[in-house]
Each structure stands twice: as C-alpha cells, then as structure tokens.
Symmetry: C2
C-alpha cells in the first residue's frame, strides 16, 4: 500500500477543504489553497490511488473528491493533531461552568456548553450509579404505608422513588430501617450492592423484615436498574446546519436515535479511562447513525471515570477541534466534581 507522505498530505488537504467548504474538492483548487509544490496532474494521480484504496470517492464522475469514512478514520488516526483550545474557548468553558450549584446544574450547563462550542448535538451522561458510592439513604414517611426513598450518591447524584409498603410501618420502625440501610450500604458501590441488600433482609428482625424486603427490592430494581443512567441532550437544532446535505437529506433517523436513551448510552456511556473515542459513520453500530460521527470521552473526578459525554455530528466535522473541545470540557467537569 504505497501511501507516501505526499499522498497523505493530499488526503489531509482534501479532508480539511471538504470540512471547510462542504463541497467536493478538485485537484486544481487543492494545489491553489495548499502549497503542495506539485501540479494538479500529479495530485490527480495521487487521488486516483487514494480512491483505489478507499479513502476518498467521487460523488459522480466529473466532480471533485470527498473523503470516505475510511478516509476520515485515517485522517483522525494519523494526520491530525488535536488542536489546542483558544484562550477564548477556555474562558468560555470556565465562565459557563463556574457557579453551578449542584449536579443537575453542572450537567445542564455542560451539555449546553458542549453544544454551543462544537455547534453540534451534545450528550452528557449523569454520573453512573454503578460507579458511584452510596453517601446516604433517606427514608421519608409519606403515609403509614408509603415511603419516599432518597438516595444520595457521592457523585452528587440524587435519586428518589416512592415505595408502597406491604403494611403500615410505625415511625419508630422507619428510623430503625433508615439506620440499618445506612449502616450497611453507605460507602459501598452500588454495583456491589446486591449481596449486601440481601443480607439486610436476612438480618432484619422479623418485625421489620416485610418492609425491608420491599425496600430492598426497590433499591435494587428501581434505583439501580431502571434509573441507572440518566442523560442530558442539547443542540439538536445544530443538526440543521449544512442544510440537509449532511445526513443525506433526512434528519428523521438521527432524531429517532436521539430519543432513545439506550442508544445514547451506547454512544457515550462506554467510556474508557483517558481515551477519546471517535466513531465515524459506518463504524457506528446503530443503523440510524451511520451517516453521523460521534466523539466521546469519559469524565470524573481525578482519574476515575463516572460517566461519559460527547457530541454527535455529520461525518464531515472538524475532528481535531471537536476532539479538543470534548476533552477540555470533560476535564473541567472532572475538576468541578472533584471539588465536591
């Protein structure tokens, strides 16, 4: 596969021009805009090779070339450096995130910030409960047979759920229940909770056992499984930039995919430590998104990861800039979380 330096340079130039202009780029305009030091004819020969190797393609004969997903992949992997953020951008991030009062606020600000900076659709996962530790469990009696369970995680995340008890439970028993669950569960990771919760039921006095059983079910089923992941979304209007040229004319599949939490989680929820993941077009497992690219990364206090965030846009996107922004925002959010 003879891809010498110049051919790579040509590919890079094609990607950059196409991203900037949104139009197929021809050999002539290429040599004009970039000082490649060779003639259009030479570039054409290089292009022919690049096309044969599947890095670029012609929308139709007699048009310029457009990068393929594979071309973008090569560009991202080998031809681009992550752009350092401009001071203005750094300031924007700080200004936007300073003053957040709690986790909800942090997440909302973050997702809007990301959408604004990248001019794309932004997705932020709340800190995953599976990766959080229990800080406190509060039981609030609503009536004699109803409890509101409030769980506060060390990541700042708060989940609540109404519990229908099998029978009336007096106030004193609620206090006992609260003490028991907190003694047992505070400090433990929720993903490791099941055996602990089971133990709680086993060890409970006969009087408390029925209530505790219900409670434990709710803790496991609802708080952990159902609500496990939460997601915030912003910037869908950015999908309409590029006037329907991106996304081959229809936003429908994209919008549909964005409505599915499961899909979004798949996109940004599988973050690995200190990696920025870039999925380009077809690499995406979700059919509806094969015309889109996703840049995502994990975030969390210090070097741990508690959740993912990222953006989704057309394959024709400014990868270096987007990657830089996503990383920077993730880092800032991590710092913010570390302060709590």
């Amino acid at each position: 596969m003879g891809l010498d330096d110049r051919k790579l340079a040509v590919l890079r130039a094609i990607v950059e021009d196409y991203v900037a202009t949104q139009e197929p780029v021809g050999s002539k305009s290429l040599v004009e805009r970039h000082h490649l030091g060779v003639s259009p004819a030479t570039v054409r020969n290089d292009m022919a090779v690049l096309e044969e190797e599947g890095y670029i393609r012609q929308p139709h004969t007699s048009a310029g070339r457009v990068p393929t997903d594979r071309g973008y992949r090569l560009f991202v992997d080998r031809l681009s450096r992550v752009k350092p953020l401009s001071p203005a951008e750094r300031r924007a991030i700080e200004r936007f995130l300073v003053g957040a009062v709690d986790l909800d606020d942090v997440v909302h600000r973050t997702v809007r910030l990301l959408a604004q900076l990248t001019r794309q659709v932004a997705v932020v996962q709340y800190p995953s409960l599976a990766r959080s530790k229990v800080r406190h469990l509060e039981l609030v009696p609503i009536s004699t047979t109803r409890l509101m369970v409030v769980m506060i995680a060390d990541t700042g995340r708060v989940e609540q759920r109404l519990v229908e008890l099998p029978g009336p439970v007096p106030a004193d028993d609620v206090i006992d229940l609260r003490r028991l669950v907190n003694e047992k569960l505070v400090g433990s990771r929720l993903s490791e909770t099941p055996p602990l919760v089971q133990a709680l039921v086993d060890e409970a006095s006969p009087r408390l056992r029925p209530a505790m059983a219900t409670l434990s079910t709710v803790l496991l089923e609802t708080l952990v499984e159902r609500h496990e992941e939460r997601i915030a979304l912003a910037g869908t209007a950015n999908l309409t930039r590029g006037g329907l040229l991106d996304f081959q004319g229809s936003l429908r599949p994209i919008l549909e995919a964005l409505e599915e939490e499961v899909v979004l989680l798949k996109l940004i929820g599988e973050a690995e430590p200190s990696t920025t993941r870039v999925l380009i077009g077809d690499e995406n497992e979700i059919d509806n998104l094969r015309a889109a690219s996703v840049v995502s990364t994990g975030y969390g206090p210090g070097s741990t990861i508690v959740g993912g965030l990222g953006v989704l846009g057309p394959t024709r996107m400014d990868y270096p800039g987007t990657i830089a922004t996503v990383r920077a925002v993730a880092r800032y959010v991590g710092e913010l979380l570390a302060q709590n």
Copy 2:
C-alpha cells in the same frame, strides 16, 4: 359577512381534505369526495368568497386552495366536533400509563404516549411547584457545612439542592432546623411561602439563625424560582413527517424553540381550568413557531390544575383528533395523580 352554511361546509371539506392529502384541493375533487350536492362551479364561487374573506388561499394561480391560519381557526371554533377516541386509543392510554411507579415515571410515559398517539411533538410540564403544597422537607447532612435539602410536594414532585452553610452545624441543630421548617411550611402552597420563610428566620434562635437564613434563601431562590418548572419532551422525530413541506422547509427554528424551556412553558404552561387551548400558526407569540400549531391543556387531580401538557405540530394537523387525544391524556393523568 355572508358565510352561509354551504360555504362553511366547503371550508370544512377543504380543511379535511388538505389535512388528509397535504395537497391543495380543487373544486372538482371536492365535490367528488364530499357529497355537497352542487356543481364544481358553485363551489368555485364559494371558494372565491372564502378566499376574499381570508379563510383560504391559492399557493399559486391554477392550483387548488389551502386553508389559511384564519381558516383553521374558523374550522376549529365552529366547524369541528371533538372526535371521540377509539376504544383502541383508550386502551393504549390505559396500558401505557398503568404501572407508573412515581411522578417521573408518569411524566415520561405521558410524554411518550402523547407523541405516539398524536404523531407529533409532545410536551409535558411537571406539576408546577407554585401550585403544589409542601408535603415534607428533609435535611440531610452531607458534611458539617453542607446540607442536602429535599423537598417533597403533594403532587409527588421532588426537588433537591445542595446548601453550603455559613458555618458548621452540629447534627442536633439539623434536627431542630428540620423540625422548624416542617412545622412552618408543610401544607402551605409554595407561592405563598415567602412571608412564612421570612418568619422562620426571624423566629429562629440566635444559634440557628445563620443556618436558617441560608436555608431560607435556598428554599426561595433555588427550589422555587430556578427549578420551578420542569419539562419533558418527546417525539421530535415526528417533525420530519410530511417531508419538509410543513414548516416551510426548515426545522431549525422549531428545534431551536423546543430547546428553550421558557418557550415551552409559554406554550403549555398557561393552562386554564378545563379549557383546551389551540394556537394556530401566526397566533403564536413566538416567532420561531409561526409555522406551527400548538394544542395544550391543563391537568391535575380532580378539577384542579397543577401543570400543562400539549403537542406541537404543523398548522396542517388533525385538530379534532389531536384535541381529543390531548384532553383524554390529560384526564387520565389527572386521575392517576388523584390516586396518590
């Protein structure tokens, strides 16, 4: 203005046909599909009058007629009966909403249900805090200088917020604080709270006063004002039905508007008892939405209203059907809330 019965019938027929076919409707096809008992020529004369009065218009000469916003308005006000729901729809509503475990769940299911039934964008406002009463306030110490305030409203709504205290507050004091705020505030409507909260601060013992002051600020500012309204959205993908013919080619303004909570609240948050509000095209105050129509109503347990819900779609929508669905869903949700 001489709009006799037949002219109204013609208008109704035009609206119905246009909604169904999405194509300008001509005099001939009109008399064919509806048995008006007159000839196309007569219908044409009627159409000329309707056009003069501003109820319909021609996209271009030699095309059929299309209803104007004003035409839809007349149709909705005087020419349509609210369609009764089909048994299948009723069953769908019940099946969808039964089994909701708490408010969050109810709201999410409702908004998805609405989007699915109407095939439009659905918006559901959480029960407004201003219209809720405080059921319980819980203070959870996170550290010696930090409290998590959890407010549970009688509508099932739960809001929480982290409070940074001016100085360390021992556990016993937290208990006192909790007792005091609950004694004073439980059962009161949040919109009437400010004087009560002020009294709390005034009456607090000197030892508790600083903490109480901070707490009261948070209660008022953050819980009530900032988080006052919450909104759930679903079905944005439905905007792409009708292939860009609706919304004059660009979804951008619509998507932008849907990202603004304030805008959404304006749309569905100003519900009046037992009224269904229909805003058609230009009637909408928000510029971005002048190509859209909104059908909204209030919901709540019994005859009280605690929040609004509705749908947004093209002006070319099935008003009778949509109105019926929105009302029915609102009623079911109200019943669901009443059970709690």
